[in-house]
Symmetry: C2
Subunit: 319 residues, 2 copies
DNA sequence: CCAGCGATTGTTATCGATATCAAGCCGTCC
DNA sequence: GGACGGCTTGATATCGATAACAATCGCTGG
């Protein structure tokens, strides 16, 4: 900027103002300086500006990554959220700093103007730790930990309830839930499911599975069969689990959906093409990401922002 | 830091050195300062440091996002790459700045020490534009545009060739290719496929599809049927297309794999559970991401880094 | 006894931007 | 004619860190 000042025969501050389209500089001067800057390929130093302005125009997104280097993070859902987040933040002129929790980039996170937490699911302790940083923060998941942050999540309780009603309407009386309720979101789904069924005098069986993979789903069903448990409906807390479960059920000679009804969660693209087409609960991730971003931006702007729950939709297909 | 200096009765620079574990300060002084810092919740200002050191310890990752706000970016593959990338960069003490190409955050990108481009597929012009920034850069995809950057991609040609051999060995003589070869990576798959078949006197039919969705795959097969084209093998350049194609083929009364062999690409988790289980070509994304990160770090460290092609694996399942 | 060296600490300048306050110039109005 | 105000520009300080060089102290060796 000092160079530009010399080149155009004005002072640094005038250059700064000209490049910032400040009304304080003469229009001609401004245009001249801007064209000189363009010509010489001038690049603003973001760090210097951020230092002076005491802000970074950056929001850190912290994603929980499975430590298993095997599968990496293949869950499509954080990505869909990321899509919405980064679209919204970018549009507002903010940058997205992507971090994994284990990362040693604590310093970088602290430099952010705000924080978004994704997939911290089972680890509420982590949420609390980040909350202590005192930054504007939005968390994806179930409302739970108290704190000054905002929580955005889809209506997991409602999703579970909807599935319960669906099963009941089909006349199913021996439903199974597959998933890991130590994730608060899953816990809510389970709760909505159980409570709704309980109101109708039905007590579903819970099958806890840590992994959210087709294999895990298949094993769950095989375990049920080995234990001689009778069942006529399965609510899997994720589509992959559901597909695995269906496969295992079919291999055990059961017909889906004649003998067993199955509903998944997430509405993955592959689900609709599955044979039979997978019934599932759809949540709008893109919107979720957008909302997370908006709330953080709101908090950064010292506005009030409230936690919100997004509606879900039961998509009934062939299972 | 000035405050800490006052509190501990030393100068700013000594504080700086103490916090940086410099051997220039007395061990006792260092420990004392560090504990005072911890006690008072001192936080380093990254911008100031970066400004002074003229580096950002940040790598920008630019992801191509589909403009269709509908589906957002649901493709799981950039996420898997991102996993490897961020793991590797974080371990090296670097931060990941996530950007979409359309973003107005040009300034922020320029502040990065290096660049990684993902999914720029069809848009080689974009690659060239970023290349001009003169930053250390690694691109995921097919080697193509000349420039000072490094390209990492999986062996798409080899993948296509492998599928061709597989079809030939099965006695298939009327193969179809479904996909959009304007993406260089797809182009390579098509080329490996076509060349290998040509060497055996077979000429496959190309069905260009822009969308990589099950619906698109289904439409492709319906179109073939409507045109009365006979075919006994399908190579879809993505698993979702493949699943859609299989579904459509089955609905048209063809048996998979008896009448038609189908091979997809990517080895999505849902593919293995598909009925029948999807044969596909697997590429190691996690490794790809790791490699992308390593190459950029190498370039940043002024080492030589060469483009590399990752091996792929044909996974033969039930289709 | 003093030059000289190692260990430790401090002074000052610097990275590249922007805010604050001051100042110059010109025209208008009383 | 001079005060005043608008428009435009500039000098200086500042954000929070680190580098380069200087200074102090105690100790050793000739």
């Amino acid at each position: 900027m000092a160079d530009l000042a010399r080149l155009s025969g004005v002072s640094k501050i005038t250059v700064s103002r000209a490049l910032g389209d400040s009304p304080l500089v003469n229009a001609q001067t401004r245009d001249r300086i801007q064209s000189i800057a363009r010509e010489h390929g001038y690049k603003l130093n973001v760090n210097a500006r951020n230092l002076r302005l005491r802000r970074s125009h950056t929001v850190a997104v912290i994603v929980e990554m499975k430590p298993t280097a095997q599968r990496g993070m293949f869950d499509p859902y954080p990505l869909a959220l990321l899509g919405g987040i980064s679209q919204e933040l970018t549009a507002a002129g903010y940058s997205v700093l992507l971090t994994t929790r284990q990362g040693a980039t604590v310093a970088a996170v602290q430099a952010a103007d705000g924080l978004i937490l994704l997939g911290q699911g089972a680890n509420q302790e982590a949420v609390r730790r980040f909350d202590r940083l005192g930054l504007p923060m939005a968390v994806w998941g179930a409302t739970s930990v108290a704190g000054s942050h905002v929580t955005i999540g889809s209506d997991n309780r409602g999703g579970g309830a909807r599935v319960a009603e669906h099963f009941f309407a089909l006349g199913r009386r021996q439903p199974i839930f597959i998933g890991n309720p130590s994730h608060p979101e899953i816990f809510d789904r389970l709760n909505g499911f159980v409570d709704t069924l309980a109101a109708r005098g039905i007590k579903p069986l819970l099958l806890k599975r840590d992994e959210f993979t087709p294999e895990s789903g298949a094993e769950a069903v095989q375990a049920l069969h080995a234990r001689g448990v009778a069942f006529d409906a399965i609510f899997a807390c994720n589509d992959l689990l559901a597909m695995g479960a269906i496969r295992a059920a079919v291999e055990l000679g059961k017909s889906v959906p004649r003998d067993v009804s199955v509903v998944g969660y997430d509405d993955m693209p592959a689900g609709a093409t599955f044979l039979p087409a997978l019934s599932t609960v759809r949540q709008d991730w893109q919107l979720g990401g957008t909302l997370l971003a908006r709330k953080v931006l709101g908090l950064i702007g010292h506005e009030d922002a409230e936690s919100e729950s997004l509606p879900v939709e039961l998509v009934i297909r062939g299972t």
